[in-house]
């Protein structure tokens, strides 16, 4: 069940210095959807998320969130628009406790007001985090850190959750758990845009996906369509 | 033209300078530039590889005080005193340098550790006030007649000028040797990526130690030379933070990566300080220093490559321009 268009990426090109990572990329995410961006390492997936949350500026094109172009919005204000970005490699603050990391997620004024309520929610969702609340985030296992990173994203009260390679660097068993987490986030009604190399797994949890290769969208469709696509089966699923 | 011929001509021209009947004041400025140019060059021998020492005052202090104390108390000629001071400085450099390089203490940490070394020497000088005169400073005992080769004292300024010129030229020669040596490649590799350098068999710790001890030894000579010239030293002006910072400033101002950069820095800072002192210093106490400090800050913000570095960059741009012009004409 999906609603209106929430996020729109319109013909975005971006890069670092003279290196171009994205060429004319367009995609959209509707309210309530879980959308995947799949593709090999170096395809520009992380760059795409970085453009959306304004860590880097696109060289052309624009990103629109619920009808508001993000162009003039300063980077630190994007989170107030309802976009939470769970970065690649989790990027927790290693020498802050779990709860302090969660508090950082609720930094913007609106989120501070509802800190208690959301903290309870995150602890309910991830009881493990409640047990570890006073532990330094850097001392936890990879799977636990991923929980904390997602929890930190949720603390800002987002409408849209951007997730960058949540399974990267984790043991296969933990990868299963992490995709389980993604399913639960979906079930809570969050809209999710997830970037993954682990195509087989991610297609199990998203409604539809875009295939990104060397900076351009090569294919898009429902998860079932992509799973059935001969190119994807051959190149990425080894079937 | 062969650079070697150019260098010989340049030094010959400089050597001829006292024959033009310069006044004492101008000769004094020249000698000062040569002595400090040598000290700054000594600093840059290590500074150019990213080892930023804020404690070279320590080596200046050892050079000035050890040599003077040995001479004043025991009548030991500086010709023996200087080597003793050099050994002492190099030992200090080794003691401080080894843990720093072994444990990869770099950047801000290294700068502050060396700053501590400078303070140790300065406070030791002050603490030994019965022997050194403490913060009041110390006068080198003059020989009758003012000139003695054995005492390294020359009443005639021109003679001292030649001595300073030789030492300065030797400093530039050492800089060049380091520039051409294998050490340079080792150190440049290590300042890029120490692990990579170590993995291809470069003994980074040893390379850094050698260059640091070289720099310390040279700076010691500079300190002794300064003492012999001024015939007076004091712990603040020779070992304080002020002088240690001044060294780094001058090198950055002149240019860290060029052979003549430190000397240009010495000229620049001396001329600037003298001009300001002559213009403002007599009337309003502190005004010259205020402007000097302000200019230093502006200089680092707007000209971070230094004078020679900026000129070099400008030349490259100009050389690039004619090449680009024909290409533009074809459109």
């Amino acid at each position: 069940m999906t609603g209106d268009v929430m996020l729109e990426v319109r013909r975005v090109s971006a890069g670092y210095g003279s290196f171009r990572a994205l060429f004319d990329v367009s995609l959209e995410v509707r309210a309530g959807e879980a959308v995947g961006v799949i593709g090999p390492n170096g395809a520009g997936k992380t760059t795409l998320l970085r453009v959306i949350s304004k860590i880097i500026a696109p060289s052309s094109g624009e990103v629109v969130m619920e009808g508001t172009p993000l162009g003039p919005v300063p980077a630190h204000r994007v989170v107030e628009m309802g976009i939470a970005h769970v970065p690649e490699h989790r990027r927790l603050f290693p020498r802050l406790t779990v709860e302090e990391n969660l508090r950082m997620g609720a930094f913007h004024p609106e989120a501070r007001k509802r800190f208690r309520e959301r903290l309870d929610f995150v602890y309910e969702l991830f009881p493990r985090m409640k047990e570890r609340r006073d532990q330094m985030a850097g001392t936890m296992s990879g799977g636990e850190q991923q929980m904390c990173a997602i929890g930190r994203g949720l603390m800002s009260g987002p409408k849209l959750l951007l997730m960058d390679e949540p399974s990267a660097g984790l043991a296969p068993v933990i990868v299963q758990q992490v995709f389980g987490l993604v399913k639960r986030i979906r079930a809570e009604g969050y809209t999710v845009l997830i970037v993954e190399q682990n195509i087989q797994q991610v297609l199990q949890v998203v409604d539809r996906a875009y295939l990104l290769e060397v900076g351009t969208i090569k294919q898009s469709g429902s998860s079932a369509e992509l799973l059935a696509s001969p190119e994807i089966r051959r190149a990425y699923l080894g079937l | 033209m062969d650079k070697r011929i150019l260098a010989v001509l340049g030094i010959a021209a400089l050597a001829a300078v006292p024959q033009f009947g310069l006044g004492n004041y101008h000769l004094h400025l020249l000698i000062t530039v040569l002595i400090w140019g040598f000290v700054y060059t000594s600093w840059s021998v290590m500074g150019r590889f990213g080892m930023v020492s804020l404690g070279h005052g320590a080596f200046l202090g050892v050079g000035g005080y050890v040599v003077t104390m040995l001479w004043n108390s025991f009548g030991l000629t500086p010709w023996v005193g200087i080597p003793i001071a050099i050994v002492l400085s190099m030992t200090m450099a080794l003691l401080v340098g080894y843990p720093c390089f072994r444990f990869r203490i770099v950047g801000h940490y290294f700068a502050l550790v060396t700053l501590a070394l400078g303070e140790v020497v300065r406070l030791t000088i002050v603490g030994l006030r019965d022997q050194t005169g403490g913060s009041l400073g110390m006068t080198v005992e003059g020989v009758p007649g003012g000139t003695s080769f054995l005492a390294l004292q020359f009443g005639e300024r021109a003679t001292f000028f030649y001595l300073a010129l030789i030492v300065w030229a030797a400093g530039l020669w050492v800089w060049r040797m380091v520039d051409r040596s294998m050490l340079r490649y080792a150190l440049e590799a290590s300042s890029e990526d120490e692990d990579a350098a170590a993995s291809v068999g470069v003994n980074v710790t040893r390379a850094k130690l050698m260059i640091t001890m070289l720099s310390a030894g040279m700076t010691t000579i500079g300190g002794a030379l300064y003492a012999q010239y001024q015939m007076y030293i004091n712990p603040e002006t020779i070992s304080g933070i002020g002088i240690s910072l001044q060294i780094v400033f001058a090198v950055i101002a002149g240019g860290l990566f060029t052979q003549l950069g430190p000397t240009v820095g010495a000229m620049f800072t001396l001329l600037l300080a003298e001009t300001l002192r002559v213009t403002f210093g007599h009337d309003i106490h502190g005004l010259d220093g205020t402007i000097y400090g302000l200019l230093l800050v502006l200089f680092i913000i707007y000209m971070p490559k230094g004078i020679t570095g900026s000129i070099a960059a400008g030349l490259v741009r100009r050389r690039g321009a004619p090449g680009a012009a024909p290409a533009a004409a074809t459109h």
Partner: protein, 285 residues
């Protein structure tokens, strides 16, 4: 035989440690967050001392008002330092960042000479001497120690309990993702600079009660502050706090056995020796 004077030195060392800790903490905070060492930190303290002296002696303001204004002036100076001097060199070679504040050191020293002259100035306030057994302690030192501890405690509470404080600690761990948290790093830098300056201002108010102020006074405690920070581990506040007391003992007790300079020399020599044993600071992680 029990040595009363030695005990007095030890206690004086602890009192001195409080002020050193305060100084080191301010510097450490700035370094941890902005990754720049304010070489001119002690000169900011010097300006604070002059401001208080000037407002109190020259303008006749009540001492608490003069002190409050002094702290505010130095906090503002910290912000100006960041905007005018640090911001333009952020992202350039570290050597330039070190040197630019070194230039400010020269500037502030000379400017103080220009404005206030080279005479030694003091508030002319007589602080009582506290007698305890056979030992005598200056009330100003006890006050300084107590204030420093309160200052350190307040800073600690701020850093651990508030959103801004948490962000200040977080930014030193991962700068790049701060915008994702809704944090504007430039604002955090400014706030940190103001707090760092404010701490220098508090230290100035404590020092001006005990010592004469003159343009070069910064050189007498600046280096020791850097050493304390390095020994504690730059950016590590707990380490800096403990190191401050260790150093103060060296200076005070060393000064008791020898002369005061030797206390410093021993402290610095100890510092260099420590570099062999704990090269990344006492409490390196």
């Amino acid at each position: 035989m029990f040595d009363t004077f030695l005990l007095e030195s030890i206690i004086n060392g602890i009192l001195l440690g409080g002020v050193l800790a305060l100084l080191a903490l301010g510097l450490n905070l700035v370094f941890g967050v902005i990754d720049v060492v304010w070489i001119c930190y002690a000169e900011l303290v010097m300006i604070g001392m002059y401001t208080i002296w000037w407002l109190f002696v020259f303008y006749g303001l009540p001492l608490p008002v003069a002190i409050g204004a002094g702290i505010a002036v130095v906090a503002l100076l910290g912000v100006l330092l960041h905007i005018l001097v640090i911001q333009p060199v952020l992202g350039t070679a570290p050597i330039n960042q070190l040197l630019v504040t070194g230039g400010v050191l020269f500037f502030l020293q000379a400017a103080a000479t220009l404005v206030f002259g080279i005479e030694f100035r003091n508030l002319g306030v007589r602080m009582p001497v506290v007698e305890f057994g056979d030992m005598f302690f200056s009330f100003a030192r006890i006050l300084a120690f107590a204030t420093a501890l309160v200052g350190v405690l307040l800073l600690w509470l701020f850093l651990t309990r508030s959103y801004l404080g948490t962000a200040i600690r977080a930014i030193s761990q991962d700068r790049e993702i701060m915008p994702l948290m809704g944090v504007d790093p430039r604002r955090i830098y400014l706030i940190t600079s103001a707090i760092g300056g404010g701490m220098a201002g508090v230290a100035a108010s404590l020092l001006v009660l005990q010592y004469d102020v003159h343009p070069a006074i910064g050189l007498s405690f600046g280096p020791i502050t850097f050493m304390v920070c390095v020994m504690g581990g730059l950016g590590n506040m707990l380490g800096g706090f403990v190191a401050a007391f260790v150093f103060a003992q060296f200076i005070s007790v060393g000064g008791y056995f020898f002369q005061i300079e030797w206390g410093y020399v021993i402290a610095f020599a100890f510092f260099i020796a420590m570099m062999f044993i704990r090269p990344k600071g006492l409490f390196s992680r």
